[in-house]
């Protein structure tokens, strides 16, 4: 199951046109991702926290998401200060690199900022609306279909794999580090692949029977309100401003 924890509340951000949200999120996160200064990162973080507040998420859920991200940045904190070189800084009995710490801090700041922006702007739309929004933004039809179908069927495929694994387990299969285990897993993966291929074929047949001719029509035509235009236009302008500051500084 892919739980959409974030798309069911009813805030301003949840109701806003997904196209606006995608474009402004892409601008802000793009600028933050390429920035080399703390000021841009901090600007972005303030904006991100503001948007998170606006989205009325449960704080606990947001914190859990951030923990997942910072599990990865923790590795940077373990390696960068020791390996980066540059000015040495002695902390008790270890000598670390000042630039290494600065770099790890910057990456952590940027990563958290980007995740928060995506949580607030992108995860607040159901996947289906995102798919249609991408299509309307001019993303190639095939990529959008791939996106929507992956979302729809990844669960079904996962369930099929679980079914096979259960079937193996009830016949006494216990994974160990041996060739029998590797072979069994290879069979399970291969069988899942075959089954998903067959399912794809059947889904395609079902679509053809209902007159599918390669084009996906959407029923949801949403137009951004004036407030949304101003709000997301403002965010995009802010991103441009941050980019200019970054280029000058």
């Amino acid at each position: 199951m892919i739980p959409e924890y974030f798309s069911y509340t009813d805030s301003f951000l949840h109701k806003a046109d997904p196209r606006m949200k995608i474009v402004s999120a892409a601008c802000v996160t793009g600028v933050v991702a390429f920035s080399r200064s703390y000021s841009t990162g901090i600007c972005g973080l303030i904006l991100a926290l503001f948007l998170i507040a606006l989205s009325r998420f449960d704080t606990g859920v947001v914190v859990r998401r951030l923990l997942a991200v910072n599990f990865f940045t923790a590795f940077l904190w373990l390696t960068l200060p020791l390996t980066y070189g540059g000015e040495a800084l002695t902390l008790g009995f270890v000598t670390v690199s000042r630039q290494g710490i600065a770099m790890a801090a910057l990456v952590t700041l940027k990563a958290n900022c980007i995740v928060l922006i995506f949580l607030a702007l992108v995860s607040t739309s159901p996947v289906s609306s995102l798919g249609h929004a991408l299509r309307k933004l001019g993303v190639p039809e095939k990529l959008c279909l791939l996106f929507l179908f992956s979302y729809r069927y990844v669960i079904v495929i996962a369930q099929e794999f679980q079914r096979l694994l259960r079937a193996a387990k009830i016949r006494g299969f216990i994974p160990r580090t041996n060739i029998h285990t590797y072979r069994t897993y290879a069979y399970l993966f291969a069988m899942t692949l075959v089954k998903s291929w067959n399912r794809a074929h059947r889904v395609q047949q079902a679509m053809v029977l209902r007159g599918f001719n390669g084009r996906f029509y959407s029923m949801y035509i949403q137009h951004p309100t004036a407030v949304e235009r101003v709000f997301f236009g403002g965010i995009t302008l802010l991103a441009v401003g941050m980019a200019l500051l970054e280029l000058r500084g």
């Binding site: 729809r152 209902r210 035509i221």
Partner: protein, 243 residues
Amino acid sequence: MEKEQAVVAIQNVSFTYPGREYPVLDAMNFSLGKGKVGLIGPNGSGKTTFFHIIMGLLTPGEGKVLFKGSIVQGEKGFQDLRKSVGLLFQDADDQLFSPTVLEDVAFGPLNLGASPEEARKTAQETLKNLGLRDLEMRVTHRLSGGEKKLVSLATILSMQPELLLLDEPTNNLDQETRLRLIDILNGLDLSYAIISHDWDFLEKTTREVYVIEKGRITQCEKASLHEHHHAHVYGDHPHHHGD
């Protein structure tokens, strides 16, 4: 069944799966027109194959498919046929691919050229007729098995077909959904053919029953329908054994 009534018919159709020695369908003739028909037969007897040949999903080695009296040729011909004949798949997960129920039910009408507003209206109407209006905005993969089956029926009915083919519709359905499906089918002013192993279900939803066996199709006496053995797990559920 009168010949001029037939919506679809197959003539001398033979079909052999690659790598098999014997044909699943052997010079079979059959026509489906007005009426409610059941098809039974052992596993692997070619029931699903028969439906798939009618819909143009499989091409028979020999024989022809006729739609309203004329031979269906090529993909274009089958595209026309598919506007009038709907097929309900065995596995509802194959049939429901749109994110939401409403989008899935509107998919067919949109493909047939309806505007988004018309498609939405048709879809909502169809869902209402089946008593599924509440499911409209639900995400398809989060529906229960029974809901999935009924919604996939809605996705076909929204195309307003003349003839419906149902492939083992009661597979994995609970008693409640099964009874609901019986009600829905009996209330439809529509011709259909049902493949099923569920004798009791066929008895309640169809007028004639045919048997497919060894590549041939024969009419089955309705009287023989009640010669069956089964456990009445739900002891309180009323059960007809015919006259």
